[in-house]
Symmetry: C2
Subunit: 272 residues, 2 copies
Amino acid sequence: MSDFPRPQLSAAASGTSDRHPLTYLIDNLELRSRLSDADRRRILTLPYDLHARPPASYLLRDGEEPMRCGVLVSGFAYRVKLTGEGERQILAILVPGDAVDFQSLFLDRADHSVQMLTHGEVAFVPRTELQTLARTNEAIGQAIIIKVMAEASIFREWTLNVGRRDARRALAHLLCEIAVRLGHIGLAKPDRFQLPLTQADLADALGLTPVHVNRTLMSLEADGLINRRIRMISFPDWQRLCEFAEFEPDYLHLGRQERSVTFEGAEFLTRL
Amino acid sequence: MSDFPRPQLSAAASGTSDRHPLTYLIDNLELRSRLSDADRRRILTLPYDLHARPPASYLLRDGEEPMRCGVLVSGFAYRVKLTGEGERQILAILVPGDAVDFQSLFLDRADHSVQMLTHGEVAFVPRTELQTLARTNEAIGQAIIIKVMAEASIFREWTLNVGRRDARRALAHLLCEIAVRLGHIGLAKPDRFQLPLTQADLADALGLTPVHVNRTLMSLEADGLINRRIRMISFPDWQRLCEFAEFEPDYLHLGRQERSVTFEGAEFLTRL
DNA sequence: CGTACGTTTGATCTTTCTCAATAATGGTGG
DNA sequence: CCACCATTATTGAGAAAGATCAAACGTACG
């Protein structure tokens, strides 16, 4: 909370290896929940189709009835909504291991779209299989709920970023978030990472204009808060950047949510 | 979708009657889920404390470990986050029947605060009781998940509103949302309602300045999109307002989420 | 009837947008 | 490996939406 966690390398591999695709989902759930060996094996029995997807392709369309749930295996994607005028607002970034449709697993239709940001691979699991799994396996069901709740928390911070931080602070905050999330899956070095978004994407994420994002990036660089070489962002002073951005990663709810383990009938927790 | 639902009066009462407080929660869940008589009775067995709360009092504090879950029985509340500079961003409005802590029912600590907007009453239920209920009763558990997901959908639309709509459109959209949600619980007439927010609150909800909200309200009124008498907002032409605001209430996910009923082992849904 | 809070108004300033052009970059086919 | 094309990034000048500051006005309520 007070000392800012650097983006850290973890064991989760990065390349488009030949690991079972759903191990990425397992790793993702285990960022916040504890699963048993049996739970992990159960997830690996889910049927899936693995597909390569090009940039900008849709993984989910606004208004559609979701029939399957995609799990991002490699590459990046984003959640997006459009205004009537066709202006985009990017709502979230998905990284490898993230599921596309947990957000609407029990809703009749999608209220936003998900599109690929880069080239990547997606494992599609039938929605009914996941629903059944979520309801028959308590640990997995809870892990999914925790994931949904953590994502909702990220939406809230995103709204604060868009609504109440100026361009410099908001952009710095977004870079911090992406750096930490990539670090947790081994896709960022402690002091640098490859930004998967163009400046136009950043603009749509922050409710700004590409031109202004460009100027803001240059302004952050001029102040020594970041360095850029092409699309590689590096942090000369991570802590200073976090302080400037007001970045406090609690809202990511990373780390196991241990307190949520209820001891049936036990009241002692309410006395803590 | 094509014809805009007017805010509608429902059977859910409004006054601070002597109904069992948790019937408000039941009505709230039944906006989107089907519950059996047994489920309803089960909810009514939850222990609770009913408290009157003054405006601005906290129902949940950012960073706190939630020990209990409040259910708003009367009055209004809002979810809020602060920047490091102390600027507020209101993230959501809670109306009678809404639960305060579903958003963090399985998370270790709250990532935002909830405060009363007006005077009101809140029924506090021990968090462990709710967790247990959510896990032991499938229908209620699913109803809670659906509620969490629907709220997340509202967060996303909120972000679009703040990030990509100009002040007039965003304000009109917010008024539409509040009108429809109040209508569904019988707190709005078809063409008018009592706005529970001050102009400063509206500003914090939209990422604007109170001065600008004031001017924007006057501008909407000058265009005949709304009328105001004190805090009473009325709609001379609801459909025109909806079109102007790009308000399409699908994102509220009101109406029973029937498709989410899985027939165990049945694959036929994937063929729809 | 006075105090606190909310609303309205005016003048001025800043951030961010718009439009338009130019320069890099990256990938592709030859 | 090079030439070419499409994207992406950068720059400049001018315009606009929204912010800021300060004050006056209403209204509600103890």
